[in-house]
């Protein structure tokens, strides 16, 4: 169906890309391609779809064959008749003003009769449980619903092959499991499905998966934060008292009270829209709210001073080198602290590199460096820090966060990543009505009632690996 013969590609901007790689993707089979950050998963996916070389300039060698024809010899619309692609960011692939228009867009391009388009529209709206939201703007859907819609829009074109570039990375556990269910149906239908994904564990329960690994350059290890000049260890706790945030009719946080002592790594878990990010914004003072947020210590109370690492590092990066980026607007920078940060976050080799040329994992670490360079007195808040990170980068991140917590800082993360949450000291499960469960991760994970109430399904591979026979 789809095969590559020692295909490789280099992007002209930074020379990154894909080293020569051969693979075969067969009908009625699910092929999982894993690999570390920077190993070229997305590049290979684009080669298979034909976006490379049709939309990208760069140095390409080798060949990609689709159904016996070289993809370089076919035009994009011809390739799109036989294969379809779903991308990593659900909202960035929404093209139409309504859900049904999103599906119709691809069907119009096939040149189908109006009656055939109507028939397929109804069929796939029903198959993907989208009928009730057919008139809504795709941009008002949750990430899981958007990804489901993107898949429906591609599947409705009835391609023989489906290529998915990290389709699970931005989804919560429940949405990820649902998407895999839809993909299994496509395999049963005889389609060739290729998934390029970090979160390979989600496919552990799927039968007959063909596993391929793209090896990348291993990321550096972090063993200590010696040299990091953190604020001296003092006992404090962040007190959140009766916080309410309302957006019109929607009240994501209602009379929320929490006490978060310094020296802890706290994970906040919950479905999309329950107010995880809003809570971080409240703590940093970016979000208007009622209620009180303060630091309480034996010396008295004070305003919190916590740095925030945003989900999307591109929001913050604009300087011409990593060095300039980290030192921007830092009066009398502590260069010993700076050097230690570079080493701790594995950024030493990129000191002169423009930040926008870094990989996503490197950008995330740089965003953390910006925050730590400001030496926030009470700790750091990280919004979905593992998003788009491979397991190795995640291990580095957790190692560093653990060291910060051990140094007395408060570390708060929001995440959909259950293995990451399981490594925290404390897990807070948020639901529509506020805190559903709060305690040590091992204790919270065994509370099946709480997870049911939060609308989160714990995947089998997770309970097997992390909780043993307790659940």
């Amino acid at each position: 169906m789809l095969r590559t013969n020692q295909v490789s590609f280099r992007y002209p901007q930074n020379g990154h890309g894909l080293s020569p790689f051969s693979l075969q993707i067969s009908p009625a089979k699910l092929t999982l391609v894993t690999g570390s950050s920077g190993s070229g998963k997305s590049t290979l996916a684009r080669c298979l779809m034909g976006l490379i070389p049709h939309l990208y300039n760069g140095e390409m060698t080798g060949e990609v064959w689709l159904d016996g024809e070289r993809t370089a010899d076919l035009s994009m619309w011809q390739l799109a008749q036989k294969s379809g692609m779903v991308f990593q960011n659900p909202s960035a692939q929404m093209l139409a003003p309504t859900v049904e228009d999103e599906i119709i867009f691809g069907l119009e391009n096939l040149g189908l009769e109006r009656s055939e388009i109507s028939e397929r529209l109804e069929r796939y709206l029903t198959q993907f449980d989208l009928a009730e939201m057919r008139s809504r703007s795709p941009l008002t859907l949750s990430g899981g619903e958007q990804q489901k819609l993107a898949l429906a829009a591609v599947v409705a074109r009835q391609p023989q092959a489906l290529i998915l570039d990290e389709p699970l990375s931005m989804l919560d556990t429940t949405a990820a499991l649902a998407l895999i269910g839809y993909l299994e149906e496509q395999v049963d239908d005889g389609k060739a499905v290729a998934i390029f994904e970090h979160r390979a564990e989600y496919l552990a329960g799927v039968e007959g998966v063909n596993l391929l690994d793209l090896n990348g350059t291993p990321a550096p290890e972090i063993t200590s934060i010696e040299g990091l000049n953190l604020h001296p260890r003092r006992k404090f706790s962040l007190e959140i008292e009766g916080v309410t945030v309302a957006f019109g009719d929607h009240t994501p946080l209602k009379n929320l009270s929490l006490s978060l002592p310094g020296g802890q790594m706290v994970a906040i878990v919950g479905r999309n829209g329950v107010g995880k990010t809003t809570l971080l914004r409240v703590i940093t003072g970016l979000q208007k709210h009622s209620g009180d947020v303060k630091i309480s210590s034996p010396a008295g109370t004070a305003a919190p001073d916590l740095g925030m690492v945003f989900q999307n590092p591109d929001l913050q990066l604009f300087n011409s080198s990593v060095r300039e980026e980290i030192l921007y607007r830092i009066p009398d920078p502590d260069l010993v602290h700076y050097a230690a940060l570079l080493d701790a976050l594995g950024l030493r080799a990129y000191e002169a590199t423009p930040p926008l040329l870094l990989s996503e994992g490197e950008k995330k670490r740089l965003a953390l460096a910006l925050v730590l360079m400001r030496k926030p007195r009470h700790g750091v808040l990280l919004d979905e820090p593992s998003l788009g990170q491979d397991s190795h980068h995640k291990a580095i991140l957790v190692g560093l966060l653990r060291l910060l917590a051990d140094a007395g800082q408060l570390v708060v993360i929001t995440t959909h990543d259950l293995p990451l949450a399981s490594q925290a000291d404390r897990l807070i499960l948020l639901g529509g009505e506020g805190v559903i469960a709060d305690g040590e991760p091992a204790e919270v994970f065994t509370d099946a009632h709480a997870w049911g109430k939060a609308g989160i399904k714990l995947p089998g591979w997770f309970t097997d690996q992390h909780l043993g026979a307790d659940v």
Binding site: M76, M85, F87, N109, L139, F247, F318
Partner: protein, 241 residues
């Protein structure tokens, strides 16, 4: 209506309860374009037309939308009015401001009652190649996202100390440098999103020469009367003494 993360509500774009919502977008575009020619009229006739147009918008339940558009340029209107009155005369100040008010309100009729899909179709019917019609409608669709992204960038830069919140005019001027910390991420995010959309569109056969539109526009007799009525009113104002 969407509520953004910071809780600010986005502008309601489409007025579904307007009787013009179901009218053919070509008729609405025609009325808007013809009405915009009225800015050439002298002050008295311009004032009459503004009153007639305001009555028409009231019937179409679009007056609040038009008022909102005009309110957005209140400072420009005020400055122009004062300057023109001071440097030329009151009549000229009134004429310039009336023209601006008319121009800012006139396209409310089209954009408050037309979806981006209808916009794309209208442009296609006007013989604009599909790829340009699609891109233009997509750009309109994405306008709301720009607002959200700009706010997100501002907050992210503020939280790292790259921009400072201030009310002092002198400090605001000294902070022009902050613009670079806002515009570079804005350009990067917009470019990335545009590229992602391009990839998604091509992966669904955007460049197919066999495309067949699912939707069609139909010009009914009501649309004809609307266009004719607008032409008559404007013709009378232009040519009758």
């Amino acid at each position: 209506m969407r509520v953004s993360q910071s809780g600010r509500t986005r502008q309601v774009v489409l007025v579904n309860e307007s009787p013009l919502r179901r009218a053919d977008p070509r008729a609405k575009l025609f009325i808007s374009l013809v009405a915009s020619f009225v800015v050439m009229l002298p002050l008295e006739r311009l004032a009459i037309f503004i009153v007639v147009y305001a009555l028409f918008l009231t019937w179409a339940r679009l007056l609040p939308q038009a008022a909102r558009q005009i309110w957005r340029i209140k400072w420009i209107l005020l400055i122009l009015f004062v300057l023109d009155w001071w440097l030329i005369d009151l009549d000229h100040a009134l004429l310039i401001c009336s023209r601006l008010i008319l121009l800012s309100g006139v396209f409310t009729l089209f954009f408050s009652t037309t979806t981006t899909r209808e916009l794309s179709l209208t442009l296609e019917y006007l013989r604009l190649p599909y790829r340009y019609a699609f891109s233009l409608s997509l750009a309109f669709q994405s306008l709301g996202l720009l607002d959200d992204e700009w706010r997100a960038i501002r907050e992210a830069q503020y939280s790292r100390g790259a921009v400072r919140e201030t009310n002092s005019l002198r400090r605001m001027l000294s902070q022009l440098n902050d613009l670079i910390s806002l515009t570079v991420p804005a350009i990067v995010l917009t470019t990335k999103r545009a590229w992602s959309i391009t990839e998604a569109a091509y992966a669904r056969g955007f460049d197919s020469p066999h495309r067949r539109p699912y939707y069609a526009l139909s010009f009914s007799w009501i649309d004809g009367y609307l266009a004719l009525g607008a032409s008559l009113v404007i013709g009378c104002l232009l040519f009758l003494n």
